[in-house]
């Protein structure tokens, strides 16, 4: 999929996606970026992911450990903490609810209905 996404749409769900991927396999920052791209977010930038990762760590939702690298400085690998896994469960539940509501609106409203608050003369 090459269509450019609205960054605002992605911003809200990015922490959830990061936690989900890290729950499956611990990763360092750049590796996580490539995994997100491989998952379909081809246009996501490292500059978008790293600040989110930093916040998740600061909030105690991910823990990190340094692993020596043969090709440079030690890499920081991240994995979700118990608090992160709980936050992930809540986020996934909230996302499922939102998808349900949004799908319902998109399925049952074609966009031509007159708003209920419109003046009588406009109806």
């Amino acid at each position: 999929m090459t269509e450019t996404r609205d960054p605002q749409l992605l911003r809200g769900v990015l922490p959830m996606l990061v936690l989900r991927l890290l729950a499956g396999q611990e990763s360092y920052g750049w590796e996580l970026v490539t995994r997100l791209r491989d998952a379909g977010l081809a246009d996501i930038s490292a500059g978008t992911v790293y600040p989110v990762l930093s916040r998740l760590e600061r909030e105690g939702q991910v823990a990190s450990r340094l692993v020596a690298s043969t090709s440079g400085p030690a890499r920081k690998y991240y994995t979700p903490t118990d608090a992160g896994r709980a936050a992930l469960a809540r986020a996934e539940s909230a996302w499922a609810d939102l998808v349900h509501v949004v799908a319902g609106v998109l399925d049952h409203h074609d966009g031509t209905a007159v708003p209920s608050h419109a003046p009588e003369g406009d109806r």
């Binding site: 490539t34 500059g47 600040p51 930093s54």
Partner: protein, 167 residues
């Protein structure tokens, strides 16, 4: 796999220096962690896509810094801007004092020379313009010191937006 040469390391360090400058009001320990983590991850990225692409992927250092500050979830005081404003404000006060002294000396010279003593803010300032002597002698007073400190402090608080520390 792309090798990372000296020029690439310099480009990376230059980028990180600009980022560090843009993050200068970010909490110190966290800023160092951010820089360390970015250095490691960008070198890993550069090994795959080249340093130019890896840096392009990070975006402009100022924009990246804004991303980190946004994710911090609170607005930060601008200590550096506040300090610069305080220095400028105190400097302006000193400049005005010097300009006043120069004007007074010029006036004394125009009047044929002499000496005059004033007592601004509890201190004592003596202006002298005699043949072969142009001088200004002053004593410090706590009121004068307080005025300079207050001007600097007000500029620091207002420009540095220190009220952001409250929440």
């Amino acid at each position: 796999m792309t090798s990372t040469g000296r020029a690439d390391r310099i480009r990376l360090e230059w980028y990180l220096a600009r980022l560090s400058w843009a993050l200068q009001d970010y909490p110190g320990r966290r800023r160092r962690e951010v820089i360390r983590q970015l250095r490691s991850d960008t070198l890993a990225a550069a090994a795959e896509v080249g340093m130019a692409e890896a840096l392009r992927d990070l975006g402009h250092p100022v924009a990246l810094a804004e991303g980190y500050v946004t994710e911090l979830g609170r607005r930060l005081p601008r200590y550096t801007s506040g300090a610069v404003a305080a220095a400028l404000a105190v400097g302006a006060l000193v400049y005005l004092s010097l300009a006043y002294a120069a004007g007074t000396i010029d006036t004394l010279e125009a009047l044929g020379g002499g000496s005059v003593t004033t007592h601004p803010l509890g201190g004592e300032v003596t202006f002298t313009a005699l043949d072969g002597e142009l001088s200004v002698a002053s004593s410090l007073s706590w009121q004068g010191g307080l005025l300079h400190a207050a001007v600097g402090a007000v500029a620091f608080v207002l420009v540095g937006r220190l009220w952001r520390l409250l929440g």
